[in-house]
């Protein structure tokens, strides 16, 4: 009978398989606090994983010298993990290890990928297992251990049996139920694009600067100048003179009342503002050549000039189009 009990006990001992390395770590003392600093980057969510999924955690360990990580103590790919003697069904499937050494410490970047090999008919707890690392003090040759903490998550079933009322299933293991908003997102993107283009167009029409094509034309610069012109006779002369310069530059020759048709042939858009151009030459005549002459631009010629310059700038940018050309098209 005693013999039988001994055999039974032996069988129990043999059946409870304790990993050799676990046993080994248990005998090692913990490393002193402050020698190792750790940064963990866990998977984004804690729920919704099921059999076959791969969870990756990034671990950055900084170990101060003279302590040194024993590389052989790093977890081994494919090694079965157990908890209280039971296989946990989560195995290490990949490991990346990058070592960066500095004067006082060594930094280890560990990327550990675990694959889930277990499942259940209902959601159940799972955990990326804690990992023990061996660290040696290179001066005293003492070997100590360091524990990378485990990370808990929930393993979901592949399918649910029976009718499930989602609203009443308030389990914390289930992530929030999200409505499909991809249509709204796409619509938002399109509307934002339209808004952006409209704003760009508005900026193009109203902009004073020269960072878009056709924005650096002569009239854009003159418009800025005229807007700053003082309402004095000299200011008016300078403004009219600037307009003449811009018109000449646009036409490619000195523009006068008598050769406007040449301009219209070259730049048909300006034909749309012919009457304003004639008014401008009337103003120029009064300002520069015949003080007794009357112009038709009103009592605030500087303001009128600014408006006229803006119209010319619109022609320059193609915002005022040739109606005949449009009709033909």
């Amino acid at each position: 009978m005693t013999q039988l009990i001994k055999l039974y006990l032996l069988a129990i001992v043999l059946s409870v398989s304790i990993p050799a390395h676990a046993l080994e770590y248990e005998t090692l003392p913990d490393i002193k606090e402050g020698v190792v600093s750790i940064q963990l980057q866990e998977p984004e969510r804690t729920v919704g994983y099921t059999v076959g999924d791969i969870l990756t955690r990034h671990i950055t360990l900084n170990i101060k010298k003279p302590y040194l990580l024993i590389d052989e103590s790093l977890p081994i790919i494919g090694y079965e993990r157990r908890y209280k003697g039971q296989l946990i069904g989560i195995d290490l499937s990949n490991i990346k290890h990058i070592k960066k050494e500095s004067d006082n410490s060594v930094e280890h970047d560990l990327t550990l990928s675990y694959q889930v090999f277990t499942n259940n008919v209902v959601a159940k707890n799972g955990a990326l297992p804690a990992e023990y690392l061996r660290i040696i003090n290179t001066k005293t040759k003492e070997i100590v251990r360091y524990r990378i903490p485990s990370w808990d998550f929930a393993i979901s079933p592949l399918s649910i049996f029976g009718a499930v009322k989602v609203e009443s299933d308030m389990t914390g293991y289930r992530g929030p139920l999200l409505l499909d908003n991809s249509d709204e997102k796409q619509r938002l993107k399109i509307l934002l694009s339209i808004l952006g283009l409209s704003l760009l167009g508005l900026l193009y029409m109203l902009g004073k600067h020269t960072w878009l094509p056709k924005m650096g034309g002569p009239f854009a610069k003159t418009y800025r100048l005229i807007r700053k012109s003082p309402n004095t006779p000299q200011g008016l002369q300078d403004a009219v003179s600037s307009m003449h310069t811009s018109l000449n530059k646009t036409a490619g020759f000195s523009l006068f009342n008598g050769n406007l048709n040449q301009l219209f042939e070259q730049k048909p858009a300006f034909k749309q503002i012919e009457s304003e151009i004639n008014q401008f030459f009337g103003l120029s005549r009064q300002v520069f050549f015949e003080p007794n002459a009357k112009h038709t631009v009103g009592d605030t010629p500087i303001q009128w000039l600014a408006q006229f310059c803006r119209r010319c700038r619109d022609c320059e940018r193609g915002l005022i189009t040739d109606k005949q050309k449009v009709n033909k098209a």
Binding site: S254, F256, G258, F289, E290, N292
Partner: protein
């Protein structure tokens, strides 16, 4: 008073233009330019083919402004004295002397037309140019004056044989060189062929209202125009730049097709030429009811008052008409005002 005077005379000038345009059709621009020359008191060189209506045009103007009209044909054997007198044997068998075309109308001579001036010898040019400049002539121990005379000369640009090109100094005495060309309008061309009123020139000229202007008051009134029409500082600068551009077109980036601009111009417009241009521009401003000259007034007379004064390298002289026209057009395009 002066404004009213200017307005009255402007009305007369426009009436004269209308009358002339009735008998010489399709020549509105030459008619306007001749009107300008009459009021600016400048002599005119007419350029054009044979039979385009130059003589009719001048006779119509002469009838409109009144005074004497004389004409002489340029020939290779024409001598200066032929302009002053001619001799003949009278019925009494004795030699007689009578006044030539210059003296025939005395002081009332208002238009003297020298047809084909380039067929006459340089001696004749010399006499005529003196008369043009000083409006006086010494003959028969007497000083004859022609205070109201305007000379119109015509030169045949096509034929070169037995011709004496008018030197640049002589050309400079003319205020304008006006091209007279056949009108392009088919209706006008057809009318000139088939309308019988154009067949009898004398009868046609008789339809012009006589003495629309008073030729003997033109000199005085011309002074009134020149005084009343002003030129601003901006315009002075513009005209100065135009003048400089005729002298050194390359300074203003002026180019002419197939011409080496560095070799083209030997001499640009003269000071006399530019002053004549401004006189003509003032008259144009007055005709357009302006009290000051604008660039458009200068443009209206620029080609006609400047082109014939330019002196080109001999290699380009054969093409002077087209080169001068293109160069002056490009000058107007290149020089800005203000």
């Amino acid at each position: 008073m002066s404004d009213r005077l200017l307005a009255d005379w402007r009305q007369h000038a426009l009436t004269l233009e209308t009358e002339v345009n009735k008998v010489v059709v399709g020549q509105h621009n030459p008619v306007r330019l001749i009107t300008i020359a009459i009021f600016a008191r400048g002599h005119v060189l007419l350029e054009g083919d044979v039979g385009v209506g130059k003589t009719t045009l001048l006779r119509a103007f002469t009838r409109g402004i009144g005074g004497g009209y004389q004409r002489i044909e340029g020939t290779i054997d024409l001598m200066p004295n032929d302009l002053v007198y001619h001799t003949y044997l009278g019925e009494d068998g004795k030699p007689h002397v009578s006044a030539g075309p210059l003296l025939m109308s005395g002081e009332n001579l208002s238009v003297f037309f020298f047809n084909e001036i380039n067929r006459a010898r340089p001696q004749v040019h010399s006499l005529l140019l003196r008369v043009m400049a000083e409006r006086t002539l010494s003959a028969f121990n007497k000083e004859h004056t022609f205070p109201h005379m305007i000379v119109f000369a015509d030169r045949n640009q096509v034929e070169k044989e037995e011709t004496f090109e008018i030197p640049s100094a002589a050309r400079d005495r003319f205020m304008m060189e006006i091209p007279i060309v056949v009108p392009n309008d088919d209706d006008i061309m057809s009318g000139l062929m088939f309308d019988t009123r154009f067949h009898n020139v004398d009868a046609l000229i008789d339809t012009v209202k006589p003495d629309v202007l008073k030729f003997d008051e033109l000199n005085a009134f011309s002074g009134v125009i020149q005084k009343s029409v002003e030129a601003s500082k901006t315009l002075e600068k513009y005209a100065l730049n135009l003048w400089k551009a005729t002298r050194k077109p390359t300074d203003f980036g002026v180019k002419v097709t197939n011409v080496d601009m560095n070799r083209l111009v030997l001499a640009g417009a003269s000071p006399r030429g530019m002053s004549m241009m401004l006189r003509a521009a003032r008259v144009n401003a007055w005709l357009n009811e302006r009290t000051a000259i604008t660039p458009e007034d200068i443009h209206a007379v620029f080609h006609e008052t400047v082109a014939h004064r330019l002196v080109f390298s001999p290699v380009y002289e054969m093409r002077r008409t087209e080169i001068a026209r293109e160069m002056l057009s490009n000058i107007i395009n290149a020089v800005a005002a203000p």
